[in-house]
Symmetry: C2
Subunit: 511 residues, 2 copies
């Protein structure tokens, strides 16, 4: 701010979340350049340091670009670093090892089914085709993976690879290190993107606030927070928007679904707001699927936020066990359906009296999944351990006889590899023959929590942001949760890592 | 254009559909005023001459304002003038006459159920509370109504009043006449809104093209059509956006649902594009529910567009008869469910082989609904008349025995006032005791067609357009289908007239 007068500021072409006033402009480009005094100059500026931003950064920097990554929070990684570390890779090496047959077509059809067929097919095809390259990028950066597949809901077959540490941080941290090793790169924390700088209709830079202190107590941090010092940064080759989703934007999420008020818990980090998305809409980016907001069905009501309950439910109970309504002792859904189907079914059970479903499995799971999926939630106390099914039923006040009958019936289904009640996929590749019989038994209360915003700006297969006339906005790319279309109405579990990394990488290749 | 140089144009603050370039601005308001040379000056400028625009116009003009209504097409009324003329009015006089008990609460709950509970409740409450005023406005303007109620899908009780001529034109034409009788008013046809003119962040006028020739052959008329002469019009008190929905905007509708390509028929007039909506988003209007696009389940595949089949299905066959799958001879849905439920059910029946459902009723309907609902589609040949049910089954190739059994069962349901198969409301107020027994029988093939876009800009209960910070954009109002939130995920039939007229009226009261 120091070296730019108020008059100069008003003369610039700034359009963004915090300013409706369309301040200044340029009869032509040269005049415009005269008006703007940039504090710094980079080849590529990336907004956000999650999966998409980092993959873009590494890829663009490897091509010799001078790359700056902006991160408004005090730590890198946004939602990615607290993500569960599941990475859907169709046709992956672990599938070969475990004898699972997969194909791009099967993967795409699974996504279309969950997405209610409103997915933008060209984007879906792109993440399928590039999955191997994307997986390799993480290996090159140093990510280590667990040696067993997961089978997440909505996927026809097990196709999810997991980071060794069971978290997205297993991808984020090596990628940060790889990025920072490349010359002429920087990740600048506590630096908030505020507005795009345009030259006619081309994105040529950003206005930011440095030394920004995100304030979780504000209803609308993007607009109320005035901390930090304003700086103008030139991006010679363009800007990549990778600012993530808006599950923690109270105002914008309620615009799309008024039920999502302050009491709706979310798995997202506090900084998951809509500021970047809104700035993009204001410079003409086409909006896609903004009103599709997803609940993750594998959370636990007995801890706040993402927590560790997800580890148990998405990796153990839903695949190797069952979910029952404690009032009836009966199952009520396919535990491996897509997220929307499961969340809708769970909300019906929960009703107005917080009748949270009970998710359970037995100790055989320890041989087929990361034991931390049991150990971590046991340690926090949200997962309970029982010596008998009767004890479990008593603890949660479930009608005992009906519950035992439910387990018996489910075990028959596992044996026959066919769920006659809800159509859960029970092939041997999925169940490994695990039924519910071997103590100790593990159980946890379950609930859906706000997890992913499907909508965002429209991009093409080169990760260029398209305007409402279907034309790329020059100098403007986007990747990850801030984009819309890939997942249609509902994203399948573990497809976020694939989507974010792939389009981040593609943005880095093309900018 | 004549008296404004290119240089002047570039200096103005124009943001809109046709220009991503944010051309010029103002260090302060006075400079800005100096830059702009308006060709005309009005108190209020209204974009669109449908229900919302006209109600806004009449109301604003009655308050002494000089009001200009812009209409890009060669005729007034947009979709409103071809609308079916059904007007949901909770607690209306015809309900009293026919002994139907209704309440605001019942109406709101019906709308919330169809809207999947994502409706903006304050807007829904507003149209319920003001319904009587809105109905009276149409009576004052001279609309005549038919003397029997309709019962449309998703409403718990019959509450739909119908214009005497069975069309929205029965409201539009008297309202146009009433508007034009008021001094200092004008409806200017073939005049297309292009861009908003801003003074800092206040809407102070519009850029238009006069003598515009809408070109149905263009993929994207809003952006490709260069016909007409540019003019700048000042709106001293503000602009009311009433530009309608975007069911005929090939690009924008496919952004939200890629399946809605050129082969997807719609009931909408050719000019139903997204240009006005997009211009509003570009000046910071908050977007709501853009991806919810509705099919009307009462159309006919044997005629293009809205046609006259709707008259039969929405007023006769769905209420007094049944819809059967011609392959099975059986019913497959509650014919009075909401539009989304019915459309989804019908698409399943239609499948990939165009197995259109058959909608039918008997001649008793002529005593309980406008006979034109039968006569008009009979004349065009899309409705068929049969002396026996057997003949009907033969004509449509329906398995005879199963079909006769279906009719027999349905007649039992009517007698007992209870649909045991699909839960269709069969109280005497709805059926008037009409079953399917008295020849001649009438039948028509049915299909859903694209009908209404639920999404749009966010308004408050004063019809002010809100920006992304929840603040009204000064000088900017909106009403009707271009707004979002009132109907949530799916609008109930005959609520469009109520919504459009009410918020149009409110905009006219507040501007």
């Amino acid at each position: 701010m120091a070296n730019i007068s108020r008059r100069d500021m008003l003369k610039m072409s700034i359009v963004g979340a915090s300013s409706l006033a369309l301040s200044s402009v340029n009869a032509n480009a040269s005049e415009n350049e005269k008006d703007i005094k940039f504090d710094e100059e980079w080849d590529v500026v990336i907004i956000g340091s999650g999966f998409a931003g980092l993959a873009a950064g590494v890829t663009a920097a490897k091509r010799g670009n001078k790359v700056l990554v902006l991160e408004k929070m005090g730590r890198v990684g946004g939602n990615s670093v607290i993500n569960g570390g599941g990475f859907a890779v169709p046709n992956n090496p672990l599938q070969k090892k475990e004898g699972v047959k997969d194909s791009d077509e099967l993967f795409i059809n699974d996504c279309l089914k969950a997405g209610l067929n409103i997915n933008h097919l060209e984007l879906l095809q792109t993440i399928a085709e590039r999955a191997k390259d994307t997986f390799n990028l993480t290996l090159e950066c140093g990510t280590e993976y667990y040696d067993k597949l997961s089978h997440l809901g909505g996927h026809s077959v097990p196709r999810t690879i997991n980071t060794k540490n069971g978290s997205g941080s297993g991808i984020v941290h090596p990628m940060v290190a790889a990025f920072e090793k490349i010359p002429n790169t920087e990740i600048r924390k506590r630096t908030k993107f505020d507005d795009f700088i345009l030259e006619t209709n081309k994105v040529v830079g950003v206005k930011v606030k440095e030394n920004y202190k995100f304030d979780q107590k504000l209803i609308d941090d993007d607009n109320e927070n005035t901390s930090g010092e304003i700086k103008f940064i030139k991006a010679k080759k363009g800007v990549i928007l990778a600012s993530g989703g808006f599950c923690n934007d109270l105002f914008f999420r309620q615009l799309q679904d008024p039920r999502l008020g302050v009491n709706t818990d979310t798995t997202n980090h506090p900084g998951a707001t809509a500021g970047g998305l809104i700035s993009a809409l204001k410079i003409g980016a086409a909006p896609v699927h903004l009103s599709w907001i997803q609940f993750g069905p594998w959370a636990c009501p007995d801890e706040p936020g993402f927590g560790v309950g997800t580890k148990f439910n998405s990796g153990a109970s839903f695949r190797f066990g069952i979910s029952v309504n404690p009032k009836t002792g009966k199952r009520y859904m396919n535990e491996l359906a897509d997220r929307k189907i499961r969340s809708d079914a769970m909300f019906k059970v929960i009703g107005d009296d917080k009748n949270y479903p009970i998710n359970l499995c037995d100790s055989q799971v320890l041989q087929h999944t990361d034991p931390e999926r049991i150990n971590k939630p046991l340690k926090t106390g949200i997962l309970k351990q029982f010596n008998t099914l009767e004890e479990l039923a008593e603890f949660y006040n479930i009608p005992k006889a009906d519950f035992l009958e439910t387990v018996k019936k489910y075990n028959e289904f596992v044996k026959n590899q066919k769920d006659l009640d809800f159509g859960k996929p029970l092939s041997l590749a999925t169940t490994k023959g695990v039924n519910i019989s071997k103590p100790p038994f593990y159980a946890m209360r379950g609930t859906p929590k706000l997890h992913h915003t499907m909508g965002g700006v429209k991009i093409n297969t080169k990760a260029q942001v398209l305007d409402i006339n279907d034309n790329p906005i020059p100098g403007f790319y986007a990747a990850g949760e801030v984009t819309g279309g890939t997942h249609g109405a509902s994203r399948l579990g573990s497809c976020a890592i694939l989507d974010c990394l792939t389009f981040g990488m593609i943005a880095g290749e093309n900018i």
